[in-house]
Symmetry: C2
């Protein structure tokens, strides 16, 4: 007891010494934080095996502007491969990529995008692809922030996932992004192991090369983990309905509906991009991360809508 | 020290007091058990996140005779549905199923099997299907043993999986069986949660029914998790190469090759069905669970081949 006598004698309150550390310091004390704290406080009612929490990635865990980061990877990759492909100087969409004409690249539409993905995401083994992504993650810099893309992740969401895991939740990514792209960094950046990353995928083919088995990435799309694909992916990969889901766009709408429709305690959240100064502000009219119908349902159903400007005192760890 | 004086004075050895409980009591002290104990003793060299162990199901964790258990489920289901389908009395393969003519059912080949699976595994929601399987698991009995199918599981393999999990391994099923079929009982029977069950699957379709989202099972096959499909499935669902793999047939060959080809400590095992008395004896010539090429490679590479008769003192918990 002697150790306590000094602060008591000095008239200091002991309560800060025993106060719990705030698990969500980057969240302001507004409605979303209160709802999260209340939900986790009641998590004891959910059997541990059912504490499944799913998160979209682009626009929910990391930024998605000025273009999806995986598209930035693909464009960088085409530039890196260009010396071996002189024919690209006269072939679209490569010509426009090399000329830095993003408008023309976008105008090439799904066909152009298909060529970009097939060129950069197929024709190599899964191990080779992972090494290429690893190298890009280590060297590429975000054009606005000058930081590695893997630092353009939302500090409040990292806190939320850490907090959930500390309370027995298993966190999953359920993203339209490529599963083999995300798995390269998800464990280090998000604390999410590869087997808890769900995403879009292409066909892979098993081959024995000189007696060594390899998986070769093919250009054919196998699964698109977006919109209706998200609950399908959750069912396929997890096989259990989540109790918590966070997204930011209409691409997440069905995942949020699927999660909300389960029985028992539920937390459904949307990250609303409202901060043009620290990040970006976009919603109903945005070609990337359009948030329209899911927002309407969130309002009608009382789901959490996080206003990044109002509800987060920090967005990226590298700011302030 | 006084506590030890009495047994010492009585000339009793202390070592049994401190001996570890045998983690694999159903395994005889033959080569496979020794190899497993040595592998797990050295597991400290494997980073915890990489301790991924994969197991085939049919013939490796539970029996697969006289027919695959999932086929038994499908045939039982057709009998249960028959009163609503008078036309089945004259349509194959239903007619032969209802007449109990298994030879004719088998003669209907892939086309017949496709009809059986489409009839019993599609056209309902995923929740409805799980309830049907749950009911079958609770009521159906194995024709030879008179026990629930979920008791026809190999006690030594349950011990092995428990032992691995106690040493920080994450256990997965990688089976040609239907993923939604296995997930109904895998957690209770094997201690493997749904998100660690990988299997074959059919297409599922997201629908809103009166505002409630459902996933409806379709007849189209989506993924066959067998042979070359097993490493593909491991890559798709786990995204990390296992360090331990167990199978029993040529359907597991590529999974064993894929696992063996990684660097660092590896344990590759095959369950060889050699005990016609307690279970069944079959290998190279069997239409179910054919073990031929994988056995040859196991012999050449020094993989573990478990001789059920010699290496297991117990096969099922209900036998002693």
């Amino acid at each position: 007891m002697r150790g306590l006598a000094v602060p008591l004698a000095l008239g200091l309150s002991l309560s800060p010494l025993f106060a719990q550390t705030d698990p969500l310091p980057s969240w302001n004390d507004t409605a979303p934080k209160k709802a999260i704290l209340a939900f986790v406080a009641g998590a004891g009612a959910i059997p541990p095996a059912e504490r499944i929490a799913v998160f979209d990635n682009d626009g929910t865990l990391w930024a998605e502007q000025p273009v999806y980061f995986q598209l930035a990877f693909a464009l960088d990759r085409i530039k890196a491969l260009a010396p071996q492909h002189p024919e690209w100087k006269t072939t679209e969409p490569f010509k426009s990529i090399l000329a830095g004409d993003m408008k023309a690249v976008m105008a090439s539409g799904e066909k152009g995008l298909g060529k970009i993905i097939a060129t950069t995401h197929a024709g190599m083994t899964t191990d080779e692809f992972a090494a290429i992504v690893q190298d890009w993650v280590a060297t590429a810099r975000h054009p606005r922030f000058g930081k590695p893309y893997t630092e353009c992740v939302y500090a409040p969401m990292l806190e939320l996932m850490t907090y959930l895991r500390a309370n027995g939740f298993k966190t999953f990514i359920v993203s339209g992004g490529g599963v083999e792209f995300m798995r390269v960094f998800a464990e280090k950046v998000y604390g999410i192991p590869p087997e808890q990353v769900i995403g879009s995928s292409a066909v892979a083919k098993f081959e024995l090369r000189g007696g060594t088995p390899v998986l070769v990435k093919q250009p054919q799309v196998e699964f698109v983990d977006d919109k209706e694909g998200k609950p399908v992916g959750i069912n396929r990969f997890i096989g259990r309905r989540p109790v918590l889901a966070f997204g930011n766009s209409d691409g997440d709408h069905q995942m949020l509906q699927w999660t909300a429709a389960g029985s028992g305690p539920r937390l459904i959240g949307i990250v609303h991009h409202t901060d043009a100064e620290r990040e970006w502000a976009y919603d109903r009219a945005s070609p990337i991360g359009k948030l329209d119908k899911a927002w309407d349902e969130a309002t009608a159903k009382g789901w959490i809508v996080v206003d990044m400007k109002k509800d987060w005192n920090k967005i990226f760890a590298f700011q302030n």
